[in-house]
Each structure stands twice: as structure tokens, then as C-alpha cells.
């Protein structure tokens, strides 16, 4: 018989306001095997932990139940507490009476009753707990960074700086991401390229960093410290080791009317192209959907002009298999498509542009060489209207995003300010719901746009943009402060489109078994205390894949993710989870059901000699679990038809005991 202690936590008022904690500790004190039961305001505090330690010693406890928050939150804390008092860590059970009880119920009597039932179930389980000892697994000292934007670049540089190898996988032909398309950065107005391109070059030159550009992650297997990843290197049809990036081929290519992604389709590129002059790696890529040679075997001009002999029309996609100890997700964001927002006439007029398109139009390396010209007729615009929150903070008819995209207020202030500075003859209007500028020197920046540069900020939304045949855009909006309708004859309208996670994020999350929220942003392990870790061990988050972020925030998070990775890779061994599966070979019939469902490849089979009745022997095929590889997911225990497979710490009998305790009312 176990000697069990029960510790009921108030969690301040989080639990105590809805659950009668004294009644819970009183009721559970009468359960069989319980020799000590108490409650305390903060069981996780030092004083609370001391209550547990003292009780373990004073009452010779062999198992404890803590009725508190989710085991995600403090199971590790209480296991350490038990261990420090000489009790095996795995003799600790948590009854979650916060997330699964007090937070979701209103009626105190019912919540108290439920808390008691949850406590009873945990007590029933602890009766069957056995001490477990954790083993160790090695750590592969290399990290994978998925996404080569500023987030991925910063994370990779910081990890490499600590002396560990890093691979960057980027699906575009070059690293750099969205920041390469931006002209200037708020709040200091330094040029994005001037601060980003040196970092891109650092990545290329760092012998610890290996860049897989124009590549995608295809498969992820394994677990923290031991990931096996398949990377698909897409065919560029150019030998990257030979190409010098001279650009001769891109000039001679006859297919020159392909919309240029880098300039968001505002101008054209050739079928063979280098995205921009500072691309890393600076290697040409053939667009297979546009190249005549690849489509119908006619042309071959680029191969003729290439003095390095780098063109290879027969190149195939190549799968590379690599091992990693940690994986960082840095897949970034995209502006939403504006098809559902045609009240702003985005599809009707070329002079209605998104803010990212506006960046390209004002960028010295953009299609207009940095001169502000209207896309429709190339003329200088005199009146510009900026519309904020296009698709942000909008859940009407389910077409928008409910969240604030966070970066738009500041970049719109930047655009408006730069317009007025470079072209004092322009009138600039900004329609806003709220101006959100919390951040170091951010509000000062926005105030400058209003006070020094005379940008007209109008609180209110635009209802309609009507393009006229004379080229003017008739903007109709409301001024909520003046309580009147506003009509502006504009030459250009710039839409601050909401941002959303990159489309590749959702399938990647499935591969990594990393969780996401309803908007497809990756979820952090704890919103406040573990902001750069995914709940899945060994997976870390960097940049806008976790939520809308500007460059300063992204770089800060990238560094934080790197430091977490460095902390992991610095270890030689990781403590394994001892809650692993094991097979009862007397019951196993070798059917292979468990092997088929095991996501970690932890199960194999051996032929073993068994003594049968009548002093005979027989050779039988039975399952064996490699405990160093097993992650304790439990899939095999469910799949096993004969009930031979069981999970330590979560055995079938323990779970049935919990269910029985819940049902025994």
C-alpha cells in the first residue's frame, strides 16, 4: 500500500475563487492510502515546495498528488521537489484543477465536486505508479533553420557564432526574405539593404553555415537532439558550383516578359534570372514554367553564352538527408491577397497598390529606380491616400484577420513621411482606425510625420475608391472626428494589407508536430515565459511565423531562439523520457501492428526461444522496443491487438484505474 500525500494549490485566486480548496483537501484526505492532505496559496513557490518536501519526510510518503495547474506548467517543478526530498520523480501525479476545472467553470459547488473527482483519479493512478529512471540520448550538434529571411539569418549567425553548425533551408533562389524588398526601415530610416546584405554575405562566408537555397524540407523524423530531415534541393538547371553570377545568360534570354516576383509583378524578368544584384547565393535559376528549352527543347541560348558552362537542362531535384539536434522555424509572413477588398478598387486600377508594392516603387533598386511614379502612366502623383488596416482587425464575413498586423502603422507613417520629404509638392492622407506606435522612438516617429511633415491623418475608414477615366481615384471615406464624409481626388491609393503566415507553415507544422493557432501562427510553449520555444521539444520559433513582428522584434526573437538552440546543442546528452513502451513477450504474437504505427522507428522484432508446455521449446517472433528512441507517444499500445504493449507511467491498468475512480461516484 502506498503512503500518499495530497497537496491542493489555490493558485492565488485562479483556483480558489471557483473551487473550495479546503473542501477538496478535506475530501481527498479520506481516500484510501492518503496519509496527508493540505492546501496552500502557491504550491509552486519555495514555501509551497517546502510543505511538500517536509511532508514526504515526516509522513514517509511513497507517492504524491498535486492538485494544481496543467502538468505542462509545473509537473517538472514538482518532480524536482519530490526528487530533492528523496522520492522518485515519477511517483508524482498532477490533477489539473485549473485549466480543466476552475478556469472553465462558474458554479463553485460543481467545480469543487469536479476537482475532487480529478484528485481521486490521480490518487488511483499513483497507487499503481512505480519508480522510473530516465536514460540518456546523444545530441547531434547541428541546427536546422527553416526560412532564410532576417529571422532565419540572425538565428543562424548567432548559432554559428557559438561554434555550432547550422543549415539554412530557403525555398526562394536567394536568402534575404521580405527585408530585401523594403526600402527604408523605421524608426531610424536606415536603408534595409545596407543593414541586411552584409548579414547575407556573412552567412555565405561563415564556414559553420550551410545554405540550401531554392530548397524545401520534405520530411522530418526523430526527436529532440536526433532529428532526421530530408531536404529537396529543387533543380535550378544551373550548376551552382560553376555559375559565377555574371548575368550574361539573363541578358540574352529571349523570354523576357515573365512577371518579376521580386518587384511584385511591377516589371518583368527573363526565364533565367538572378532575383536581385545582391542575391546570396548569386546563382542564376531557370524558371521551368517559362523556359522554352525546358518546355519544348527549342532555344538553348543561355547554355551557348555561359562561359562557365554552368547551364544544365537535365538537372533534377535532389534529396539531401541530414541530421540535426534542433530545428528553428523562421518561415515568416506574406501580405494577404486583396481580391476580397475590391471596394478599394485594387483589381480595377494599377494606381491602387499594396504597401509592399509601394516599397518597390520607392526603392532605388526597384522598377522606377526609386522615383515615385504612378504604375498606370508613369506620371508623378500629387495626391496620395494611404488606407490602414486593410484586412487587419476585421472579421466581417470571415474575409479578414481578427488580429492587428502590428507593422502597418509604422511603415505607413514612414511611407507618408518619405513622400512629403522627397516630394514636398504632394498632399498625403492617411486613413486610420487607431495609430498604434508603442516601441522605442516609435510614437516620436509618427508624431514627426504629422507635425513636421504635415501628413493629414484622418481617423476613419475608406468606404469606396472609384477609378475615373481621367486617371483620378475618387476616394470616399469618413472622418470620424469631424463627423463628415470626405471625398479626395487621389492619384495613388496605398493599401496597408494585413499580414498572414506563409502558406508553407501549415504543412511544416504537421511535419514537425508543432502546434499552431487558428490563424496558422506557430504557438509558443508559454505565451509569456517560453516565447521562442514550440511545445514540441527541440523545435524553436523565430520571427513572424509566431505572430506579426517588425524587424527589431524579429531580430530580438531570432537571437533568443538561437540562445535556446545553443543551450540545447551545448549538452552532450539529453535526459530521456523514461515513460517508454515495453512489450510483454509472453503475450506478443509478432503481428507488426505496433511497428507500423511507430513514428520514431523504435520497434523491431527478434526471434526468441520460449519454453512451451510439456518441456518443449518454440521459436517465436516478438516485438522489442528501443528505449533510447521511444518517445512514449503511446500509439503502439493502442494498436496492439493482444494487449502486450504497455507504456511505463501510463500503463493500461493505471489509466483504467483513473477512469474507474472518475466513474465511481
Amino acid at each position: 500500500m502506498q503512503r500518499i500525500g495530497v497537496f491542493v494549490c489555490w493558485c492565488g485566486s485562479n483556483i480558489a475563487a471557483t473551487v473550495d480548496v479546503a473542501a477538496v483537501s478535506e475530501a481527498l484526505g479520506h481516500e484510501p492510502g492518503v496519509v496527508f492532505s493540505t492546501n496552500y496559496q502557491y504550491m509552486c513557490s519555495e514555501a509551497g515546495q517546502n510543505i511538500i518536501k517536509n511532508a514526504i519526510r515526516d509522513y514517509q510518503l511513497t507517492g504524491i498528488v498535486v492538485c494544481s495547474c496543467s502538468p505542462r506548467m509545473h509537473e517538472a517543478t514538482f518532480r524536482k521537489t519530490a526528487a530533492s526530498a528523496g522520492l522518485n520523480s515519477y511517483m508524482v501525479e498532477i490533477a489539473n484543477i485549473r485549466e480543466q476545472c476552475s478556469w472553465i467553470h462558474k458554479d463553485k459547488a460543481q467545480a469543487t465536486e469536479k476537482a475532487i473527482i480529478l484528485g481521486r483519479a490521480a490518487i488511483a493512478k499513483v497507487h499503481l505508479n512505480a519508480p522510473l529512471t530516465a536514460g540518456e540520448s546523444p545530441v547531434t550538434k547541428r541546427a536546422l533553420v527553416i526560412g532564410g529571411g532576417i529571422a532565419g539569418i540572425q538565428t543562424a549567425l548567432d548559432i554559428a557564432d557559438a561554434g555550432f553548425e547550422v543549415d539554412i533551408v530557403e525555398k526562394q533562389p536567394t536568402i534575404g526574405g521580405k527585408m530585401t524588398q523594403i526600402d527604408k526601415t523605421f524608426p531610424t530610416l536606415d536603408c534595409a539593404a545596407c543593414i541586411l546584405t552584409p548579414k547575407m554575405v556573412d552567412c555565405a562566408q561563415n564556414d559553420k553555415i550551410n545554405i540550401f537555397a531554392y530548397s524545401e524540407v520534405k520530411e522530418v523524423k526523430g526527436f529532440v537532439g536526433n532529428f532526421h530531415v530530408k531536404i529537396n534541393k529543387k533543380a535550378r538547371y544551373v550548376d551552382a558550383t560553376k555559375c559565377t553570377g555574371c548575368g550574361e545568360c539573363t541578358e540574352k534570354c529571349p523570354m523576357k516578359k515573365i512577371p518579376n516576383e521580386f518587384n511584385l509583378g511591377l516589371d518583368n524578368r527573363h526565364a533565367i534570372y538572378i532575383p536581385f544584384a545582391q542575391a546570396v547565393p548569386k546563382v542564376a535559376t531557370i524558371d521551368p514554367n517559362a523556359c522554352n528549352m525546358l518546355k519544348n527543347g527549342k532555344c538553348g541560348l543561355c547554355a551557348k553564352v555561359c562561359s562557365a558552362g554552368a547551364i544544365d537542362y537535365k538537372q533534377k531535384d535532389e534529396i539531401v538527408e541530414r541530421e540535426y539536434g534542433a530545428i528553428v522555424v523562421a518561415t515568416g509572413y506574406n501580405p494577404i491577397k486583396l481580391d476580397d477588398y475590391d471596394e478599394y478598387a485594387y483589381s480595377l486600377s494599377k494606381d491602387v497598390v499594396s504597401s509592399l508594392e509601394f516599397e518597390r516603387i520607392t526603392n532605388a533598386a526597384g522598377p522606377t529606380g526609386g522615383t515615385l511614379l504612378r504604375p498606370s502612366d508613369g506620371k508623378h502623383p500629387h495626391t496620395l491616400v494611404f488606407v490602414q488596416c486593410v484586412g487587419s482587425r476585421c472579421s466581417a464575413e470571415g474575409k479578414g484577420k481578427s488580429y492587428c498586423s502590428k507593422i502597418c502603422c509604422m511603415y505607413t507613417a514612414k511611407h507618408a513621411m518619405l513622400c512629403r520629404e522627397k516630394y514636398p509638392d504632394t498632399e498625403v492622407y492617411v486613413f486610420y482606425i487607431d495609430v498604434r506606435s508603442p516601441g522605442k522612438n516609435y510614437d516620436e516617429f509618427y508624431r514627426r510625420a504629422v507635425e513636421e511633415y504635415g501628413v493629414h491623418y484622418i481617423k476613419g475608414q475608406v468606404g469606396k475608391v472609384v477609378p475615373r477615366s481621367d486617371g483620378k481615384l475618387l476616394v470616399q471615406g469618413s472622418d470620424l472626428l469631424a463627423n463628415e464624409q470626405v471625398h479626395i481626388e487621389a492619384d495613388m491609393v496605398v493599401l496597408a494589407a494585413a499580414i498572414e503566415p506563409d502558406k508553407s507553415a501549415r504543412p511544416l507544422a504537421t511535419m514537425l508536430t508543432a502546434s499552431m493557432d487558428t490563424n496558422d501562427f506557430f504557438t509558443e510553449a508559454h505565451a509569456k515565459l517560453r516565447p521562442v520555444e514550440s511545445p514540441t521539444a527541440g523545435i524553436f520559433l523565430s520571427g513572424a511565423c509566431q505572430g506579426p513582428k517588425d524587424i527589431p522584434d524579429t531580430v530580438a526573437q531570432a537571437g533568443a531562439a538561437a540562445s535556446k538552440v545553443i543551450g540545447l546543442l551545448a549538452k552532450d546528452k539529453l535526459t530521456c523520457n523514461p515513460c517508454t513502451a515495453h512489450s510483454d513477450e509472453m503475450m506478443c504474437n509478432g503481428c507488426s501492428s505496433c511497428e507500423k504505427v511507430c513514428p520514431y522507428g523504435a520497434i523491431s522484432y527478434v526471434d526468441k526461444e520460449f519454453r512451451m508446455p510439456n518441456r518443449t521449446t518454440a521459436i517465436r517472433r516478438v516485438a522489442v522496443v528501443n528505449e533510447a528512441v521511444c518517445q512514449g507517444c503511446g500509439a503502439c499500445t493502442v494498436a496492439c491487438p493482444s494487449g502486450a504493449m504497455d507504456l511505463k507511467g501510463f500503463s493500461n491498468s493505471q489509466i483504467m484505474a483513473e477512469v474507474d475512480a472518475i466513474c465511481k461516484m
Binding site: D339, D340, A345, L348, E397, K464, V465, V466, S469
Partner: protein, 262 residues
């Protein structure tokens, strides 16, 4: 193919053209529209009040009648379509409204929004198909630049109407292409004409319909087409535009293209 058909009262008076050409064209396309026997006025604007129940019962009766015949219900007038579609949605998805309406109706089996309501344009797009319509056209309206005017009722609320993207629709433009003409793309095609405000404050109706007409004329349209009798009335009578483009029912052009307009 047979469909139940709800013409609505305006189509029996002011908007007889909208109705007549629709029926003739449907026959030419092999579709038989069976007018419901005892339909009542949908109530137009009055039944859009969310808290009203009595004024929506006419719609529920029509929907129930189509259910009894086991047919989809085709509508034509934008206002009727909007009212019927919204009433149908409430019968299916608003338990409180559905219960109260069924209590009035006292049917053997309660009506729960089973009838599928489709607009005549959806009939052309989804049942006939614009490709087939194109093949059936005898007199393509070549070279005509036509502005499709959706107005406010045909597409919104988008979640209930589910006809097309309310801010960037294409169903009428595709129709115009199918009959051989050229659609004009213009911004005010889905703006309200102000028709509902004409009795209360005529200035609003004048302002709104003028903005619509001006925008269509500015984009070099030769005419506007609509499915709404109130829009047609308001644009013709109240627009103060210098250029007064003709406004026609889309069914008239359809009949012309199919060669059934005598």
C-alpha cells in the same frame, strides 16, 4: 428541367419586361419555370427588419410550396431574392425565428429551410452554364459595351446570398461575355442606388444614382443592365447625370441574344 418560380409583384406591374423575357429565354434554353400557384408579395423592404415575423411569412409560404413540389425555387427580382434567401436562412439557422414562424404556419412537418433558392443568374451560371449559353446565342451583341449593375441587394449579405464575391463579383460580367458583348469594369457596380431612400429623402437617391450613372458613363459604357426593378426606376428617374445611359433588364438582352425577343 422544371423549377418553381417566384416572380414577385413588381414583375406583374412595373417590371413586366423583366419577367416576360426571362420566361421566354428559359424556354429557349430548355428550362421550364413553373410559377408558384398562390404566391404572395415578399414584402420588399419591410420584411428585412430582423425582429419582424409576420411580414416574412409570405416568403416562408413560397419556400414551403416549392418544398412540397420538390423543386428548387428560382427568383428574378433582386429584392425578392434577397428577402426569400434571408428568410430561408433564418428558417434553417435561427432556431428562435424558425420555431415562431413554424408555429404560425402550423404545417404537418415544420419547414427548416430545405428549399434551395437560386437567382435566375445562378440558373444561367450553374444549371445552364455560361459556355452552353454562349453556344445557344443566335444574335451575339457584338461590340456593345455594357456595365453590369449589381446594386446592393443581389450580393449582400455575402454569407447568406452566396452568389458571388460581394466586393469583386463577376457573374454578370460573365453573363455579358456569354451573350457576346463586352463588360465594362467599374467601381460603383455594387454601390447602392439610393432607391430605398427615395420617399424619405429624395436628395440621397439623386446623389447615389447620379454617382452610379456618372461612373458607368465615365468608363464608356453604352448601357447598364440590372436585375432590380427599383434600381431601374431610380437610375432612370432620379439620376442627375449629364449622360443618361439606357438602363435595361438583363433578361431583355438575353432574349435579344437568344433571338426570342419579337
Amino acid at each position: 428541367m422544371n423549377f418553381s418560380y417566384y416572380p414577385g409583384c413588381t414583375l406583374k406591374n412595373k417590371a413586366q419586361d423583366l419577367d416576360r423575357w426571362a420566361r421566354l429565354s428559359a424556354e429557349a434554353l430548355g428550362i421550364h419555370l413553373e410559377e408558384l400557384e398562390t404566391w404572395q408579395c415578399c414584402g420588399g423592404a419591410y420584411s428585412m427588419g430582423k425582429d419582424e415575423i409576420a411580414s416574412k411569412l409570405a416568403s416562408v409560404r413560397a419556400l414551403q410550396a416549392a418544398k412540397e413540389k420538390g423543386q428548387d425555387l428560382v427568383t428574378l427580382c433582386s429584392a425578392c431574392h434577397n428577402v426569400l434567401k434571408q428568410a430561408n436562412d433564418a428558417m434553417a439557422n435561427d432556431p428562435d425565428f424558425s420555431l415562431r414562424a413554424n408555429n404560425y404556419m402550423a404545417l404537418d412537418t415544420p419547414y427548416k429551410g430545405e428549399t434551395k433558392v437560386i437567382h435566375y443568374l445562378e440558373l444561367l451560371r450553374d444549371v445552364v452554364g455560361f459556355d452552353n449559353l454562349k453556344k445557344a446565342v443566335k444574335n451575339p451583341l457584338k461590340g456593345k459595351k455594357i456595365a453590369a449593375y449589381y446594386g446592393c441587394l443581389l450580393l449582400r449579405p455575402g454569407k447568406v446570398m452566396q452568389m458571388d464575391n460581394p466586393e469583386n463579383p463577376r457573374i454578370m460580367e460573365d453573363f455579358i461575355r456569354a451573350i457576346g458583348a463586352e463588360p465594362v469594369l467599374w467601381a460603383n457596380r455594387n454601390e447602392c442606388c439610393g432607391g430605398y431612400a427615395v420617399l424619405e429623402d429624395k436628395a440621397i437617391a439623386v446623389k447615389k444614382s447620379t454617382a452610379v450613372m456618372d461612373n458607368a458613363a465615365d468608363q464608356q459604357a453604352e448601357m447598364l443592365i440590372t436585375a432590380c426593378p427599383l434600381c431601374l426606376y431610380n437610375l432612370t428617374k432620379n439620376s442627375a447625370s449629364e449622360t443618361r445611359l439606357p438602363v435595361k433588364y438583363f433578361t431583355e438582352l438575353l432574349a435579344e441574344a437568344l433571338g426570342v425577343k419579337e
